[in-house]
Subunit: 346 residues, 4 copies
Amino acid sequence: MNTFGELFRVTTFGESHGPGLGAVIDGCPAGVSLTTADVQRALDRRRPGQSKVTTARAEGDVVELLSGVYEDQTLGTPIAALVRNVDQRSADYAKLAKEDRPGHADRVWRERFKHRDPRGGGRTSGRETLSRVIGGAVAEALLKREVPALSTVGWVSQVGPLVLPSMEAPVSRAQVDATSTRCPDAALAAQMEALILDAKGTGDSLGGVVTVRVDGLPVGLGEPVFGKLKALLAHAVGSIGAVSGIVWGPEDLEARLRLPGTQFHAARADGRPSDVYGGIQGGLSNGEPLVLRALFKPPATLTDHAKAGRHDPCILPRAVPVVEAMVSMVLADLWLHLLARPHHAG
Amino acid sequence: MNTFGELFRVTTFGESHGPGLGAVIDGCPAGVSLTTADVQRALDRRRPGQSKVTTARAEGDVVELLSGVYEDQTLGTPIAALVRNVDQRSADYAKLAKEDRPGHADRVWRERFKHRDPRGGGRTSGRETLSRVIGGAVAEALLKREVPALSTVGWVSQVGPLVLPSMEAPVSRAQVDATSTRCPDAALAAQMEALILDAKGTGDSLGGVVTVRVDGLPVGLGEPVFGKLKALLAHAVGSIGAVSGIVWGPEDLEARLRLPGTQFHAARADGRPSDVYGGIQGGLSNGEPLVLRALFKPPATLTDHAKAGRHDPCILPRAVPVVEAMVSMVLADLWLHLLARPHHAG
Amino acid sequence: MNTFGELFRVTTFGESHGPGLGAVIDGCPAGVSLTTADVQRALDRRRPGQSKVTTARAEGDVVELLSGVYEDQTLGTPIAALVRNVDQRSADYAKLAKEDRPGHADRVWRERFKHRDPRGGGRTSGRETLSRVIGGAVAEALLKREVPALSTVGWVSQVGPLVLPSMEAPVSRAQVDATSTRCPDAALAAQMEALILDAKGTGDSLGGVVTVRVDGLPVGLGEPVFGKLKALLAHAVGSIGAVSGIVWGPEDLEARLRLPGTQFHAARADGRPSDVYGGIQGGLSNGEPLVLRALFKPPATLTDHAKAGRHDPCILPRAVPVVEAMVSMVLADLWLHLLARPHHAG
Amino acid sequence: MNTFGELFRVTTFGESHGPGLGAVIDGCPAGVSLTTADVQRALDRRRPGQSKVTTARAEGDVVELLSGVYEDQTLGTPIAALVRNVDQRSADYAKLAKEDRPGHADRVWRERFKHRDPRGGGRTSGRETLSRVIGGAVAEALLKREVPALSTVGWVSQVGPLVLPSMEAPVSRAQVDATSTRCPDAALAAQMEALILDAKGTGDSLGGVVTVRVDGLPVGLGEPVFGKLKALLAHAVGSIGAVSGIVWGPEDLEARLRLPGTQFHAARADGRPSDVYGGIQGGLSNGEPLVLRALFKPPATLTDHAKAGRHDPCILPRAVPVVEAMVSMVLADLWLHLLARPHHAG
C-alpha cells in the first residue's frame, strides 16, 4: 500500500516518468505553521545535482501545495503537494521496455504487475522518495510546534569501507550539510568524496550507512506490542528501496551484542541507561537520544557506461533527508497516538 | 496497537500474570485444516523448560480454541485461542510494585501507562510472544494449503561470540530442534550450550542472532512502497521485544556492503540473482530463498541471584519459533493481498 | 471484518454454537474503572428470557474478563472478555445442515463461505450481538470518565404499526427498563406487549424502530468527510443484522423532509438549531441532543411451529442495548480522535 | 479521516476555494481501461450549471490524471487526479469570515478546527463531492472489467412532497439523464422541475430522496459482522453531507415494516426472495437487485437573496452521481475482499 501511518497518514503517488509525484498528508491538525518554502527546502536537500558526488540529472522538483494550507497555517484538512516531472528524458529509458536491468527490480515488478511502465522505474525509482520528503517536512512542522525541543539529524556514517565511529554529542544539520557527502567529520568526508568520485569514474557504485539521531524525545513514545517505536521505525526505514538492514543503537552495537548481558546492559558512569538500547526500552522511548542506523546497498549499476553521467554512484548523501523524513513521520504519528491515550493513575 | 496485519489480522491480548493470554485471528478463509494439536505443537516449541539451557519455569501453556474452527476446519470466522496462566507465582514479582528492574522497561512503561500491573511484566513480558506463536500457527496452516511448496525455518546462528556462517542448503525444523540451542551445526551447538550453561551458572546472559530462511516463495510477493515484503518483515520482527536489529541477506552482508556495487550485485555463477538481496528485490520476493536475520539483545539480568533458577540466560532457542511466527504472519497477509490484486496485462 | 473502530477498537469472535463468544477491546486507556459486574449488567439487558415477550431460551451469558483489567481498573492493555455457550441444544438445529431457513441468510452464507457451520446460525446469529454489548460496556466506562455529563439512552419507539412520537425530554434507562417492551410510554408499552404476545401465539413476528438519544455530547465530535459522526453511526448501526435503515433526527423526519428548506431549517423558538439535524451538522455534533433511529425488520419466522417457544417474536426490546452499545463504541472512538487532533487557532 | 475503503482506497483532498480538489485512488489493479475522458464524463454529471434547475455557477471542473495511468491503462500504482478551482469568487464569501450561515456547519467546524478557512465552505462544501465522483469513476472502471454484468443506476425518486413509487424494471442512466431532475418518470419529472424553479424564484430549497439500484451483483458480496455490504453502504452514503437517512429496500419499506413477519418475509410469486431485503441478506448480496435509498435534507438557504442566483435550490439531481460513486466504491472494495478470501469447501 502507498499509505504510511495511522493518525498522521501520508499517501504517496506518482511515477518517475509520468506527469508528477506527490503526497497527501492527512491528520495534521489545524494551526501548524507551514509554508511552501518549508517543503521546498526539504526537497532541495534530496534533489539530485547538489554536488559533484551525486547524479548530474537536474531535477527541478518545484513543489506546489494544492490544499490544506491557508495563509501559511494548516487548516486541519488534507495537505496535498505536487511536484511535476520536468527532466523526464523517457528516451533514455526506451529500451527498458524490452530489457530488464540487472540488479533492478524490473523483472519481479513485471511478473507481479504485468503492465510495467516502460517509461522508467515507475514506483521503484528512487524518485518515489520525493513524496516521503514532503511527508517528513509536514511531520517536522507539526513536531516543531508540539515538541519544540525535538531535533532529528541524520548523517552518512559509512561509505563502502570508510566508517565513522559513534558521535558522542549531537550534530546539527548545518554541520552535516557542510560536506558534499553529508558526513560530519570533515577529514573522513573528504576520503568518502574521493572514493565516490572514483566509483563514478569507473561506472561503479558504493553503499554504506545512514545514522539518524533524535534528541529531545519525551519518555514513553510508542505503542504496545506491534506499535512499538522501534517496530514502526523498522517499517518506515525498511520501506526505503535500497535499505538492507536496520539497527537501533550505536555504530558498534553488533560487536557489543557478543558481550555477556552484565556488560551489555551496564548503566553509564552517570547512572543513565546504556546507549545500547538506542534510546528505546520496552518498545518506548526512554528519554535518551534515539539512535538508528540504516544499512544501504550500493545502487545497481548500468552496464551501459554511456549512461554513467546520469547515474548516481552513491545515494547515501541524498538518502539522509529521506531517512530523516521517515523517522519524523513515525514520531508525528506516535505523538498523536500519545495524545489519544489519556492514561490515568487510576 | 495490539493488532498485526491487514487482511490476515492477528489481535493479541493478555498479561503474564493475569487470567490468561491469547489471540484472535481474523481473515483466515474457510476450509483450512487446523487442529488444536497444530497450535499446541507450535506453542510447545516456545515453551520454557524444554531443555537445560532455558528457564526452569514450567509454564503449562495449554491452548484452547474458542471459535472459528469446526471439525478441524476453519469456518472463515475469527479464530480465538486462549492459554490460561497457571504458574504465575506473583509473589516472586511482588517487590516489583515498588522497584524497577535495571535493563527492563519498567520505568518507561510506568511513566507512560501510569497504572503498571505490579503482578509482573504485563505486556512487556516475553510471555506476550505466546500470542504471536498462535497467530503464526494459523498463518502456517493457511500457507500450507495455499502455497504447499513453502517452507519457513529459523535457527540460532549466533550466541554471544559464537557465529554460524551462512547455510548453503535449506535446513529442516527437525535438524534445528535436534540440538538444545536450535543451532543446526551440532559441533557449534555444543559450544553454544556450554556457553549458555556457564552464563546460567554465573547469573549472566547472552544475546545473538536468529536467522530465518523461507524456500518456495512465489515471485512478486509484497506490495508497493510501504507494503514492501522487507518493510513488513522489519515491522513484524522489529516488534519482538528483545530485537535490536534486522538485516535481510546472508550472515556476511555487513561485510559485503563495503564492496563496490559491481561486486556486490554480481549474479551467481549459474546466473541467478545474488544472495545479497536476501530474496527481495524492489521490495518484492524475487524467487530466491528469503533470508532474514534478527539481532537479539542478551536478556536483562536479575541482580537477585536467588531468582537465577527461574531466569532465562539466553532466549535465542525459544525465540526461533517466535521469529518464524512473525515471518509467517507477514507471508499470509501478503499472500491474501496478492489475491486481492488481479493485475492484468492490459 | 470483525473489528470496529480505529482508536477504540473492538474485535469480536465466536459462533452461537461453538465454545463461546467474546470480544477484545484495544485502545481503552489505563485507569478507567471497570468491573466484571459492569459488563455483566450490560449483558443482562440483552439476555433472552428477561420477560414474557422475549424468547424462552435461557442463555446464561456469564462473562469473564481475561485481560486488561486489574483491581477494577483498566491497564491500558487489550481487554479480552469471554462468554461461554451453555444452552446450545445443537440438536434443535441439526436439520439446518441440510435445509436453508426461509428469510435467513443461510443460503448466501453457504454460497460465500462454502463450509457453513451446521450447528446453528454461526456468525449471522443474533447471539453475535453479545460481543457488541461487551464492547459497548467498555466504551461506556471510558466515556463516563472522560465526558461525565454524557448519557446514551435507547428505547423502542415502534412495534409493528404502534408508533411512539418524539420524546421532548430525556428518558432514563430506568424508565425504559420499567416496561417489558422497553417503550417508555406505559400505555403504549402495554399495547405493544399485547401485540407481541399475540404474534408469539401465532408463530408470527414483528419489526419496528429503536430510537437512541445522546445528551451531553460536546460540540465538534466527528471527523471530516468519511469519519463524520453520522457516517460512523450509520456504519455501526447498519452492521446490526436486522437493521433495514437508519435515520438521524426526530420520529417525523421523513414527513418534514417534504417541507421547503425555509421551514425545514427554521431555528427553534429559543434560537437553538432545529431538531431536524438530529444533533449533527457538517457531520459533527452540534451541541444539541443526538437522535438516531434504527429501523428493524421482523425476525424471520420458523415454519416449524413446534420451535415457536424458542423463537423470539420481536427482538426490539433486546436490541435496545445493542444499538446503544454501537453508539457508545462510535462516541468512544471519536472522543479519542478528538484528543488526537490538537487544533490550534494558528 | 479523508480516506474511504480498505483494499480499494480513496483519499480525498482540497478546499472549495483553494487551488484545487482531487483524489488519490490506491488499490486499483493494473490493466484496467481508464481514460481522462471517463473521469471527466463522470464529473460532468455532477457539474453545476447543467440545467436550469441547478446552480448557475459554471464550475469548470476539468480533471487531470497525475499518476497511475499509462496509455489508457491503469499501472497498479496510485491514481492521482486533480481538478483546479477556477470560479472561486472568494469575495462572495468574504463576509463568512465574520458571520456563520444559519443551517450550515460553520459554527461547529469553527469550534472544532479553530482556524476555519474564511474563503468558503472548505471541506464542508458540496464541492468536496467532486473527489468522490473521481473515486467512483475509477471504481466503475474496475467493476466493468471484473463484473461486466454489473449496472449501478441512481435516480431522483422524491423532491419535496413528490414521490416516485418503486420501479419494477431496471432503469438506464440514459433514461435518468433525459430529464433535468434525473427522475426517470417524465411526467413526474416535469412536476419536480416546476417545483424546483418555484423554490429557486423564492429563494427557497427542497430535499428528497435518491434511489440507487444495482443489477448483476454476484451472490455473497460483503464481509461478516462490521464489513457487511449494508454497513459499508451506510457508512459510504451516510458520509455525504446532506444525507439524513439511509434505507435498504423499496420505496414503501417503512410501510411494510409495520406488517407481521409472515407477510413481510413472504417470498415473491416466482419463489425469489422478497424485495424487502433490498438485495441483502445476512449482510451479503443475495443475488437480487440491490436497492438503496438516501434521504436528503433541503440545502440550507442563504438569507441574502441577492445570492439566490448562485444558490442551488435542490441538489438531488446533482447528488445522483455522488451516491452512485459511493456505492461503486463500496462494491469495488468488497469485490477485492472477495478475491482475498479463498474460502474452500474443506
